[in-house]
Symmetry: C2
Amino acid sequence: MRAPDDLRALAERYLGELALTPELGGLATSMRYALAGGKRIRAQLCLATGEAVGAEPETLLPAAAALELVQAFSLVHDDLPGLDDDAERRGRPSTWAAHGIGVAILAGDGLLAEAFRLALTYPNPGVARELATATLGMIGGQYRDIGGDETDRDALNRLKTGALFRASVCCALWAADVPEREHGAWRRFAEELGPLFQIVDDVLDGDGYVLTHGLHGARAKADEAASRARDRLAAIPADTSVLGAIVDGLATRTA
Amino acid sequence: MRAPDDLRALAERYLGELALTPELGGLATSMRYALAGGKRIRAQLCLATGEAVGAEPETLLPAAAALELVQAFSLVHDDLPGLDDDAERRGRPSTWAAHGIGVAILAGDGLLAEAFRLALTYPNPGVARELATATLGMIGGQYRDIGGDETDRDALNRLKTGALFRASVCCALWAADVPEREHGAWRRFAEELGPLFQIVDDVLDGDGYVLTHGLHGARAKADEAASRARDRLAAIPADTSVLGAIVDGLATRTA
């Protein structure tokens, strides 16, 4: 079993060497710009889940990359002036600020379409179906976030953050051809990852749950989410030690 | 065999009744707005191809709808101020002009993701793979069209228009489980549809090929494309009479 850092390095190398569809031409430059610098947590989760169910992590790399491409797609579009209007992302100009609005719209579209292309390299269409479900949830979440529909924070996070974390685990199950009857325990674990990630994010940024629950209240909620995630991992009949380490990392991260 | 108009009506009804993913919430309104008013040529081609290879057109409807959703996605995003900046589409305000830029970005994203969801309702992942290839080509074409890469008109049209026409025929082959060894003759036919459509479009709009070849020259090129499409249809061992009628319609359309 490879450690989380090794899995991250594996994903990073694969993404760095990923051949984009030639027809995209020069658009690839802005797509790679948008893809750079992520923490690769979703890829790690996918690879670690795959290894836990007995697959070689290398065989999970297209699915892991697809998840990171969907994440990058959502950030590129959400940052646009017509949406969140963020000129900065990960300490440098966001994609539209660096490459222009039109190119950023197309770069996001290209990342999403490439993600499906990668997910569709598997014979099992479950990988791409899982990705479509997650993407639709994220889009619905962003629509609520810009004020389109009234919603509460938990429901919003379930869509905006939770959907892709769920897919990070479940895409690996489909890619590794785990029978559907065995997915339940994994899905229950995957459900906890979005809340865990989001609450810690809010603690680090001092917003979201911190505004409604105070710093200590939010910290306590994060610990509860981590604890539930560990309990649910324990219910899975497999060696989930690396996933446990990823959960610990999510709970204690400082950036 | 159903006539082209019946196939269009079938597609129109299916699109009108299509249940969008509930998580999209109120975004569905702008997505339906973007989807309204198309000529449904791509859906017609898909349904007619399906019927020619012996499938019930009804079984092709999710694939036909997916093609129309991808087409609508590309129009919504291309019309945005950051790209072509068109405030009008099909004689009424374009989606961003009617619903705002942010909502239009998300509506396009939602249409694309729903298209993949629909394509993935088939057990055969070839439908969704074909759609991904076409979408990537269209995005690359639009990137060239806004000046991203130098290209000639034929290459541009092959990506911007041709890719989805090709997929309109080929998605039907995958959905109907036509063995891959029989796809060749169909693909050669499908290759002619993009040029045929685009040259007639330019004749009707007085731009593109009309500017380089003159009105009569462009008209002659359209007739040649229609003639090649009919020849290639004739090489397919199936009853392609409805597809022939669609080709005639594309060659003689006045809107």
